[in-house]
Homo-oligomer: 211 residues x 2
DNA sequence: GCAGATAATGACTCAAAAGTCATTAATATT
DNA sequence: AATATTAATGACTTTTGAGTCATTATCTGC
């Protein structure tokens, strides 16, 4: 009678796969509860391992947190830059293309969970904030800036104050991501219609102009 | 030698004033650290009382949290509705007025701290989210909707898709609030210029239209 | 298929912070 | 001014969960 009990969990040695799996599990738990309220026990359970195993790969909960955030920071706008460079058509088409990409990258994904965590707990991790800002945000901003500049220099866009404030341009996307993360179950946002409204308003404005 | 020591803290009985003071202190700590990472000891210190006193008024940390959030939910857009009703001039002026008010109410204030807390911990407090949504958000949205409707019916605004999506209209303000809360120290947002860019883009759009 | 190496385990320790309550002292009542 | 009432206290108990480590099981190379 060496083996009874309901089910023996078969132990496996997978040195290479573990860190990634732990990060995935951690990210999900952090997104669900925040850093302080996440139990490493739960991360372990989600990853299908014992708590001790986490400590073979990460020296502390915060270390795991930082690793999890870092792992998702870069890839966001990967490749978009190049696509912008190559694009030939009118700038409003380019803008639509890029915004569509941003929405699909940001709303209801790992990235939005990440953003939410940073908004919530960024306080205690100034280095992460700095990293996120310099790796993701500022790159995204200068890409947007290059698009509006393109529009202006081709005579397609007005040379208005938004030209120096590209944050105006993505604001609705950021807001959509946060809205979904917060109110989705209570008052979900109709994304396709929202994107249309965003682009239409951004390009044409509210004012009736041929009056 | 009944009294030595550096300073005797004089004990006071102030049954009525305590709850409010504890809530104020709690809100500040929660805004700073989040729910899980806030120590009731610190809340007590900030309120100038002993930890035990908190438990005479609130049954647990979460109870205090809920009370603190509830206490700040309503008052946000108080009075704005009436001002909108009364307004006589052109709708773009009205919109500027209201947006200005929203910015000053939202960016870098208690309200934005509140928003941040709800974004962070909303998950575990669906009732609070529901309350915030029905008391504050949905009211704000219908007020915005009434403004754009006014614009359309007076022939000032286009009857575009943004008319059914007032979230588009405040998105930059929300984003500014979050941006400041997150990146202020690292890359502060020039608020006045940002507001100008917001309003200009919202009204006129990016496109050059007399081309 | 045996021996050495090491990934994985989970019961354990320990620190921190939530929550309790007998005691103390401020106020109200007579 | 004596007594009764109860707000306030903070030392204490309890709970929780991070982090440790001796042991166990799996894999690798011979």
């Amino acid at each position: 009678m060496t083996e009874s009990g309901p089910d023996l969990p078969p132990r496996r040695r997978r040195k290479d796969a573990r860190p990634g799996e732990i990060i995935d599990a951690g990210l999900k738990e952090f997104a669900l509860n925040g850093l302080a309220a996440t139990r490493l026990e739960d991360v372990a359970k989600r990853a299908g391992i014992a708590k001790g195993t986490i400590y073979r790969y990460f020296s502390s909960k915060e270390d795991l947190f930082v690793a999890a955030i870092r792992s998702r920071i870069v890839l966001s706008i990967e490749g978009v830059d190049a696509a912008v460079e190559r694009f030939e058509g009118p700038t409003d088409e380019l803008l639509k293309l890029v915004l569509g990409r941003i929405y699909s990258e940001f709303v209801g994904t790992d990235t939005s969970a990440l953003m939410r965590i940073l908004i919530a707990e960024g306080n205690r991790f100034p280095d992460l904030i700095k990293l996120y800002h310099s790796e993701a945000i500022s790159k995204g901003m200068s890409m947007l800036k290059s698009i509006v500049d393109r529009g202006v220099s081709r005579g397609e866009f007005r040379d208005g104050p938004a030209i120096t404030e590209p944050r105006i341009i993505i604001a609705p996307a950021i807001m959509a991501a946060i809205w979904q993360a917060t109110f989705q179950s209570h008052d979900p946002l109709p994304i396709d219609r929202f994107i249309d409204a965003h682009i239409d308003t951004l390009l044409n404005g509210l004012l009736e102009n041929d009056q």
